[in-house]
């Protein structure tokens, strides 16, 4: 039962997402992998089942966390949502696409491009993947806005400086190449780029991994401020429970490509049900 206090429809509904890497996956791949088998590589054919049967909803204004050790399939889920990967099986209905009537994985080339450039923003673990290092910081944001059909140079310039300011990238650096920035500043430019055109959904992959602890705090605060000021709808992937605790309303726990548990974030942390989640939480505290 959902009362009027909750929004009527999820922004994103993922159903049965399955992604298998391998030349010729066999019929037993899914059955022979997963948390019980404690492997994601099929012993019959050697294919890697990166994720299988993953289903979840994301509601407007909500931040969904995904935790799990490295290799558990978290990033695969984001890459499928951002159209970097085409899943083997599954559907994802997104409010920003075909009125939620067709799966984003049935989109044609033009529609895919629109999804990536306009409706969904991605922040990769490695800023080099989300940035064009041979283009200035301001130019990276301009690229994103041009892709989203912004046309007036003045507007673009203004928006770019606005977002770089928000993400605390010093304005004089707007015309410098991110190749020469620190990791933390590259990450902030990447966040500015992903958010500049106000996409309906933002995907964030390990956004603090690899950054110095002091820099991590700044990046987390930035995302939290954006969450507060713009009502961000996001999926945030991290192996760090501290990041999840700080940012996520609800959390999925993944192991060997499967969702083993999901719940309110404080419930996942204080009353974990699955043996794996109990282990994860007890190792962290």
């Amino acid at each position: 039962m959902v009362t009027a206090t909750a929004t009527a429809a999820p922004l994103l509904s993922v159903q049965g997402l399955t992604t298998i890497h391998g030349e010729a996956p066999c019929a037993a791949c899914v059955a022979l992998t997963g948390p019980e088998a404690d492997r994601n590589q099929c012993p019959e054919c050697g294919s890697i089942v990166a994720c299988a049967g993953v289903s979840f909803d994301v509601w407007p204004g909500e931040v969904l966390g995904i935790v799990g050790e490295s290799g558990s399939g978290k990033s695969t889920v984001l890459q499928c949502l951002y159209q970097d990967l085409q899943p083997a099986v599954g559907a994802a209905y997104f409010g920003g696409f075909a009125e939620g009537q067709r799966s984003i994985w049935d989109a044609d080339r033009r529609e895919r491009r629109e999804l990536r450039t306009q409706s969904i923003g991605m922040v990769y673990q490695n800023p080099r993947q989300g940035l064009n290092l041979m283009v200035t910081a301001g130019g990276n944001i301009a690229e994103r806005l041009l892709d989203a059909n912004w046309r007036r140079v003045g507007d673009i310039r203004e928006k770019a400086s606005d977002y770089l300011q928000r993400t605390e990238v010093p304005l004089p650096r707007m015309d410098d190449f991110p190749a020469f920035f620190s990791g933390g500043m590259q990450q902030r430019v990447q966040i500015a780029k992903a958010l500049a055109n106000s996409p309906q959904l933002v995907l964030l992959d390990e956004l603090t991994t690899g950054l110095d602890v002091s820099v991590q705090a700044g990046v987390l605060d930035l995302v939290r401020d954006i969450q507060r000021d713009y009502g961000l709808t996001a999926v945030i992937v991290s192996h760090d429970l501290g990041v999840i605790r700080l940012l996520a309303d609800r959390t999925l726990v993944m192991k060997q490509g499967r969702v083993v548990e999901s719940g309110l974030t404080d419930q996942i942390l204080e009353d974990p049900q699955h043996p794996y989640t109990q282990l994860l939480v007890n190792c962290a505290t």
């Binding site: 009362t3 309110l264 043996p275």
Partner: protein, 255 residues
């Protein structure tokens, strides 16, 4: 006679500790009670009796194992907090149900007044107004001016508790869950919290409160549930029901 805001029936909670060879602990067994608007129900019992687990189940930080917790929403609908969708719990926490715990950690690097103002901001109240109301609340709780724009993660336990209480009451909830919210406060500050809680009670806020300090309960509680080994051992009016002295047990809990 008005209707209960909350009806808890047959609530039990077991936890399977897979990392301890599947050991099962059962913090709550078959708890039943009603709570009315404006009523304060005190929860007492020895350390480890299940008091905190009860509040955590109501807030759904713990998933109940069986039983129901039927809650009447502001919109007049009945929701079983034991099985409500996560989405709905989030909405209720945002608008109607607040939880204050002794150990609640404020978010890092957020100014005290902003921590307190957050529920107002979430309710769409304009930032300056929200901040002003938050400041007023912290002032009533005697938190010095200089601390209001500092980070509570650096505060003493007692100062953190006052931030948590201020945040819970800055916009009155309909149901307030209090887990030893004054344990680190001196008598002057306890009196300040007491005054705010009495005010909230007059405004119709229903409360469940765990206090070691029987004096607080004498002022606040209409009824008391005595919880022992996860069960309701006795219940009744303050002064009528026997409340053993659990203070020694409490000292062990903090050790």
């Amino acid at each position: 006679m008005n209707k209960p805001l909350l009806s808890v029936a047959g609530l039990s909670k077991s936890i399977t500790l897979h990392i301890l060879q599947g050991k099962v602990v059962t913090p709550l067994r078959d708890i039943t009670f009603d709570l009315y608007p404006g009523e304060f129900l005190g929860i007492v019992g020895p350390s480890g009796a299940g008091k905190s687990s009860l509040l955590k189940c109501l807030y759904r930080t713990y998933v109940p194992t069986s039983g129901s917790m039927r809650y009447r929403t502001e919109a007049g609908e009945m929701v079983d907090l034991a099985t409500a969708e996560e989405r709905e719990m989030i909405a209720l926490r945002r608008r109607e149900i607040r939880y204050v715990s002794q150990f609640l950690k404020p978010p890092p690097r957020v100014e005290a007044a902003d921590v307190v103002a957050a529920p107002l901001a979430a309710a769409g109240i304009e930032q300056r107004e929200a901040r002003a109301r938050a400041d007023g609340m912290l002032e009533r709780l005697g938190l010095p001016d200089s601390l209001r724009s500092s980070f509570p993660s650096l505060f003493s336990g007692g100062e953190q508790q006052r931030v948590n209480v201020a945040r819970a009451l800055v916009s009155p909830p309909r149901l307030l869950l209090l887990d030893e919210p004054t344990s680190a406060l001196d008598s002057e500050n306890r009196a300040r919290v007491l005054e705010l809680l009495l005010e909230a009670k007059r405004d119709g806020v229903a409360m469940l409160g765990i206090f070691h300090d029987t004096e607080m309960l004498e002022h606040l509680a209409d009824r008391v549930l005595v919880v022992e080994e996860g069960r309701v051992a006795r219940e009744g009016r303050v002064g009528e029901v026997e409340i053993p002295n659990y203070i020694e047990a409490a000292a062990v809990e903090f050790a």
